[in-house]
């Protein structure tokens, strides 16, 4: 029980004092037995007022303080710091919200607002009486991190983390690194190719000692919590021996002889690929791989190359890391059949296919045997949907389409670009590309979502029609040789990761951060961070920025060897607990585990996982769970004060 409590009633300029009689509140609070000091203050948060509180605590030897002011969301930490500066435990500070809950909410009735403020302050004093001095919990952390996904974001974060002294395990589901970027040729706005960027990062990774890269690897299971995750990684074999020195001629022969043929996902089905493959000569790692899903194990390739080993087995690797960084990236939106004529009219492709097509066709742009002159780009396919679920803007597609259109005109002769947009969003420096495209004669048309661009076949011609708002709603049409659907981003399918790590997924199906502005790379799962396009549609520049900020955040979290956690957690009384599993069932954070204690089974809180949400408290049949900082005795005494 605290016996020397100081109470401060804040005017908040006039925000509070205009409607709440702060003097009256002060007086009544001052009559409480344990209250040795009751004051009003113009702005409790002002430096001078803070210093006054510090001095009061020291001079009057206060053992708890109550500040009746604004919402604790605003100043809880301000006054906890004040308490700490005066040598008082920060958890002996109680904030009472008389602004949002009294003066603002009841500005029409000042006497009642005052009455309510008095009750709340008295309740706050009761809580202060029972408040306990708490110290933050400290748990050990392993300065090692698992980065999931070796695309640009993952590789860049891995390098940065390694350079800061963290042990990095970098895993990639595919057999080759680079992710989506390796599929793109020239990238806006530098015109570097995706491959150049990828190989630069890969070469750096190879030279960095404390990065271990696994390809064909995925998370198999996870246990433990922040600072101490035990993770099993499943590694699919490559079916080509790791010591293999790639002989290109031999590899070519093996590809030739392979009887299996299927749509090449790297080229989005524009070409066919064989079971043994490497998407491009300089792809990393250098050794080819065999797609075992399609391979029929005929063994023809083994005859040519002794380095091929179809008997290789899947491996499971156990690692311990302090944090997990997800950089699993995004995929292009796949239009539905019939969406703007996709897969119904044969000269309709996606922007991503076009980008592959440009690389496959060096001299002239030919698709399905026809030379391409007029290209119609339809924007916002799979983004900003009116009826569909993807309400978001994919951010990169306007610029990417325009950049591709510029490249096309530079590379091939006689190309006419027609952009059927819903408003161009080439934000920032990317605007220069839009300007360049306009100047080179590209035609931009725009419609609203209520009258979308139409694509149809008329006498063997593919016609694209728009009600152009830039030409006073005139109906305009183009005979297009090629229609390009400028498709947006959707998150990659990561069902196994989602099930294992339980990272919250937003309505847009991307991973959710805690706070978009202030905590943009953390998830509510402590120790699991997100970066790059798995979080939201981002271009490469933005992905790298977010991956570097996640790297910094991972480092600050695990590099000190221990992690401090809020002490306001659930606590289970082992004596009264008779394991019934109700609390484990409701806990959203896997924070309650079964343990043997003194000959019986009890529930124990894993402090690293517990968020102090309190959901386990009401389900406990033996009332064995207390939430520290909100114990029954504190809450009950508050209720007593309120109903007195």
């Amino acid at each position: 029980m605290k016996k020397r409590i100081g109470v401060y009633i804040c005017h908040c300029g006039s925000n509070i004092s205009d409607y709440v009689d702060v003097e009256k509140v002060k007086e009544i609070a001052g009559k409480e037995n344990e209250v040795v000091l009751s004051k009003t203050t113009m702005f409790a948060c002002a430096d001078s007022a803070q210093n006054e509180i510090v001095e009061d605590i020291k001079e009057q030897n206060l053992d708890a303080i109550v500040v009746a002011s604004c919402s604790p969301k605003l100043h809880l930490f301000t006054f906890r710091n004040v308490a700490q500066r005066a040598g008082l435990n920060p958890y002996n500070y109680i904030q009472v919200n008389v602004r949002e809950q009294c003066s603002w909410a009841h500005s029409d009735n000042p006497p009642k607002a005052t009455e309510k403020a008095i009750k709340l302050v008295l309740a706050g004093i009761e809580r202060a009486k029972h408040s306990q001095a708490l110290t933050p919990i400290s748990i050990p952390s392993n300065n090692a991190v698992l980065v999931v996904g070796a695309g640009i974001a993952g590789m860049r974060a891995a390098i940065e983390l390694a350079e800061m002294g963290t042990e990095v395990f970098l895993i990639e589901r595919e057999y080759f690194v680079g992710g989506r970027a390796s599929q793109w040729n020239e990238l806006f706005t530098t015109n570097e190719t995706g491959r150049e960027v990828v190989s630069r990062l890969y070469n750096k990774i190879i030279k960095t000692n404390n990065i271990t890269l696994f390809t064909g690897a995925d998370i198999d299971s996870k246990s433990g919590s922040v600072g101490d995750f035990d993770i099993k990684i499943k590694i699919e074999p490559r079916y080509v021996k790791s010591g293999c020195k790639l002989d290109w001629a031999k590899f070519k022969k093996a590809v030739e002889i392979c009887p299996v043929e299927f749509d090449d996902p790297f080229n989005f089905g524009l070409t066919k690929q064989k079971a043994i493959y490497k998407n491009y000569p300089s792809e990393f790692p250098e050794i080819p791989a065999i797609d075992f899903e399609h391979c029929n194990k005929c063994g023809e390739c083994v005859k040519i190359c002794s380095d091929i080993d179809l008997e290789q087995k899947e491996e499971i690797l156990n690692i311990n890391v302090g944090a997990v960084l997800l950089t699993t990236g995004a995929s292009p939106y796949e239009p539905e059949k019939g969406e703007f004529g996709y897969k119904e009219i044969d000269n309709i492709i996606t922007l991503q296919q076009l980008k592959r097509l440009i690389e496959l066709r060096e001299d002239e742009l030919i698709y399905h045997g026809n030379k391409i002159k007029n290209i119609a780009y339809i924007y916002c396919v799979g983004s900003r949907q009116v009826d569909g679920e993807n309400k978001y803007c994919s951010r990169y597609c306007c610029t990417s389409a325009i950049h591709t259109a510029i490249m096309l005109k530079e590379k091939y002769k006689g190309i006419n670009n027609f952009h059927f947009t819903r408003g161009i969003r080439t934000y920032g420096k990317q605007e220069i590309l839009y300007n360049k495209a306009s100047k080179q004669g590209d035609i931009f048309l725009q419609s609203f979502e209520d009258s979308p661009t139409e694509v149809y076949n008329e006498k063997g011609q593919t016609v694209v029609k728009i009600k152009d708002i830039l030409t006073a709603d005139k109906e305009l049409e183009v005979n297009a040789d090629l229609v390009v659907l400028v498709t947006g981003m959707v998150p990659r399918e990561n069902n196994s990761i989602n099930n294992i790590l339980k990272v919250p997924i937003g309505r847009d199906k991307f991973y959710n951060e805690i706070h978009p502005k202030l905590r943009p790379v953390e998830t509510v799962i402590d120790g699991v961070l997100i970066a790059g396009a798995c979080q939201a549609p981002l271009n490469i520049t933005e992905s790298v920025k977010s991956s570097l900020s996640a790297a910094a955040k991972v480092n600050s979290l695990i590099s000190k060897g221990e992690i401090e956690l809020e002490p306001t957690l659930a606590q289970i009384d082992k004596l009264s607990c008779n394991w019934c599993d109700k609390c484990t069932a409701v806990c959203p954070y896997d924070a309650i585990v079964k343990k043997e204690y003194d000959g019986k089974t009890v529930a124990v809180v894993n402090e690293a996982n517990c968020k102090g949400c309190g959901i386990c408290l009401p389900v406990c049949p033996s009332n064995s769970i207390q939430l520290i900082g909100y114990t029954d005795v504190e809450i009950e005494s508050m209720i007593d004060a309120l109903i007195d």
Binding site: S438, K439, G441, I443, K465, T471, E475
Partner: protein, 353 residues
Amino acid sequence: MAQINPDFATELKEYGAFDFNACYNCGTCTAVCSLSTEENSFPRDMIRYSILGLENDIKSSLKPWLCYYCGECSETCPRQANPGELMMSLRRWLTAKYDWTGLSGLLYKFLQLSIIAFILTAIGVIVFSIYENFKLETIMHYGHLFEMLAIGAVFSLILIPNIIRMWWFIILKPKVKVPIVSYFKGIWDLIVHMFTQKRTLGCDDNQFRWFEHFILVGGYLALLFTTIVLDWFGTENLFIIVLGYVESGIIFIVTFDFVLSRMKKKKEISKFSQPSDWFFVIWLFLLGFTAFIVRIFIDTSLLENNIWIYLFHLIILVQWALIIVPFGKWTHFLYRSFAMYFEKLQKDIKISP
């Protein structure tokens, strides 16, 4: 439904337009234009039509002629798309489309053709003089006769049919139903605009240019009358002689200023000059200046021994009458005033449906 035609932009560039593709449709040009009105707003839509290649919409539009090129749109364009010069190019393009012979278009597009035409006409005059043994009196007689015949022929064979074509593009083809009586009611407007160009005054900061242009047109038409009807080169009447001096003086002084401002390129209107613009101001200057000199030579009795000066004047005159008037920039005198006339007809329809 209209088909987009990106090749039109390429064609328009041959008429002097440039960079208009940079337009991103903000409409600043239309907002700042002091002649643009709610019913007849421009130049944004004209830029849009040009980019999209909607030829029919441009051909049936009077808007290019309603612009008097103060240049404010080009000055304020955030994309440097030069709407002012685009409107100028559309006027050249329309001039070419109105011309049934197609020669205007060829002369606009190919400088070589203009030069060849100038050389051929000069040779013609010289050959004719040789044929006439450089006999001053005969040559001057035929010169005078040529003026009258040329005016008649150019008007009846080229200009009137072209005006009819303009009427067809603007009124007939888009099926604008104009009551006959409106044609008569509008004639006064036609005359006023033809001789005053008063719409220019609607532009900001255009008063001095309007004044220069106004006295130039007055001087030009008066000199035409003085030489043809009053026979300036043959008369003994002092009043007529002085009148001719004043008129030709006005022409070469004003056009000299025009040439100078095109060289200085200080104002938007004189920044971008196509060959057709140069030909127009320079030939008009030479026309006034040589006429002035010829009359001085007559008054000082020097012409007899310096027949070359009259031949030079005649060459300029023939080139003017056979190239620049029917197929060059001169026609804007007619198209601008007829555009105001047709606009009045269209307005009548809108008021009484």
